[in-house]
Subunit: 362 residues, 2 copies
Amino acid sequence: MPNLPRTKPPVILAPTKTAPLVTTGLANKGRPRVQMADIAHMAGVSASTVSRALSGSPLIPEATRTRIAELARSLNYRVNIGAANLRKRGVQTIGVVILGDNEQMISDPFLLSILGSVADALDERGVSLLLTRLKKDRQHVLTDLVESGQVGGLIVVGQLTLHEHLNELARQGFPMVVWGANLPDALYPVVGGDNAMGGFLATQHLIEHGCRRIAFFGDISHPEAALRYQGYTRALLEAGIEPDPNLLQSFLFGDSRVRGVINHWLDQQFSFDAIFASSDVTAISLIGTLTERNIAVPSQVRLVGYDDIALAQNVHPTLSTIRQPTHEAGRALVDLLFDAIAGQPRRSVVLPASLIVRESSA
Amino acid sequence: MPNLPRTKPPVILAPTKTAPLVTTGLANKGRPRVQMADIAHMAGVSASTVSRALSGSPLIPEATRTRIAELARSLNYRVNIGAANLRKRGVQTIGVVILGDNEQMISDPFLLSILGSVADALDERGVSLLLTRLKKDRQHVLTDLVESGQVGGLIVVGQLTLHEHLNELARQGFPMVVWGANLPDALYPVVGGDNAMGGFLATQHLIEHGCRRIAFFGDISHPEAALRYQGYTRALLEAGIEPDPNLLQSFLFGDSRVRGVINHWLDQQFSFDAIFASSDVTAISLIGTLTERNIAVPSQVRLVGYDDIALAQNVHPTLSTIRQPTHEAGRALVDLLFDAIAGQPRRSVVLPASLIVRESSA
DNA sequence: CTGAAAGCGCTAACAG
DNA sequence: CTGTTAGCGCTTTCAG
């Protein structure tokens, strides 16, 4: 029996079996939907021809192609991607997974930069972006996304405590790429900034300005921060300064306990002449807190942040920081993911970190 | 001909027609995929039974159901959502469209709050989130997303200059909801803060502190900012103050020309004793610029921002601002969208704006 | 309670 | 160049 167009059913030869069917999904409620068969019918060609025409097949002559395209456009028709994907046995969607720092949605603007650059890079390839927050102990959603065929691969932003799990997925041949620190035993492709270099540059710069008691603010249980700390330590050692463990202030990115810590340090008359903060948001909070306590930045305490968010150049004093090339980040993440999907050997990318000197450290 | 299981093909009665087929999509490269037929085969039941078991149908006895569930889990099997959707004629995905302010990805942390709350609200309903940036003159992507069956509805964040286009989509019965200002002639459901009230509260508060020359920073071509400006004007008029058009500084949200404007004003000896900024990011930049020019906040110029982003309470002076309940925002957006999809009558939600008094205006 | 059969909307062999 | 045909992997009647 030939396909029955929905709009103009032809003579019915056998009783139609098309029965009730309660729609449980979200789509198509009430809105009439034109589909390929309708277009074909109206254009007086077969569905195959419409399919070919709309996908720009060179088999279809220019004239027919445009005629069908016009018709489709005039009816506001778009090919049903789900059906096409099913047939083509593949999807045109990538999952972007963001690890929630804690329970709250991550609030660091830097994340938005990464997300934006990934969105752009995917968009250029005509691939959709399925965004998912990964909450604690819900790691199975990573597997779900891929195994359910919803996405063709995964871009994981932030690795936190997930390293082992990610390695396990990599072992299974999961198509994915991670934004984060390139850990030595990582089995998955990683794109990240040169955190060790960033930490080194920031610290070296502070040392050059005569600082000796440089504090580090950042959660070193987080691999990226740990590398920044490592760079920090190396710079100190190279300058003949013994790192003081008391000057390591570990807390989660974006945490707001900054104020309490500084106040505590000041109340204890704890001595420090500079702070290297593992994020600009933290650094800006530090400026606020220090200023409130009448500690002048940079004359009494010099400050360097990380990420070069937009606000960094508009606070007072303007914030010295380490810049990460976010635009390239998105591009690299997408490139590597597509390599992984194509079965290419694993590859990782370290993006350069550059020191931006502004007033807070001058 | 019965379904051929992929793993153990039965006796072939007719030459198999299953031919080459080049996979153009992203999924399934190399990784062997178990599917429902395999599970059915292994469990010694039909695919129907597996389908019912996995969807928790009460028709299947508890015992069978768990047995099948275990088997599926042990094989890491997940139902192919695309195929299921095709059959069910619906999707479980919502499109979230973010209007790029300019060419760059929006960088305001407030946006991330909204996005996060939407993500959570969708997650609670088991619905996926397809994120799209809407660039200038690419409005057709809105139609694409829905007509191609990729998403069941649209959450549009920011309306900017899109109002007319959105109205047109609403007229066509497009399932959608918008975060923004509830314009009087809007045909689409809107969720937004009470911008007029927010503007009023901020301004009234400044007036109560003796301010008379209150500047407004914000792009009033943006409907939300326009309403804030309206509230600002009302507060002034109620206090018997004639709004001075020179005190309206219009620019795009998050724009960084703040510094230039303030410097210009100061150089011109332009008088103002307070600023109401349409976003916290702008307000924080203002604090920076004013401080740099040795204008004391709040003693010489009082300041109120908008959004209550995390940094607001950590800068110095801490920033007074208008808070918008972002968590409820996500929930309301999703609720209204589902109503729209279900064909319920259009409804809009205005979330309360509340004044948070901190040091910058005290 | 279970299976067979039909078909969601599309694409791609294959044979004209 | 074009139509016919056969499914993609799943869900849901319908008939046991």
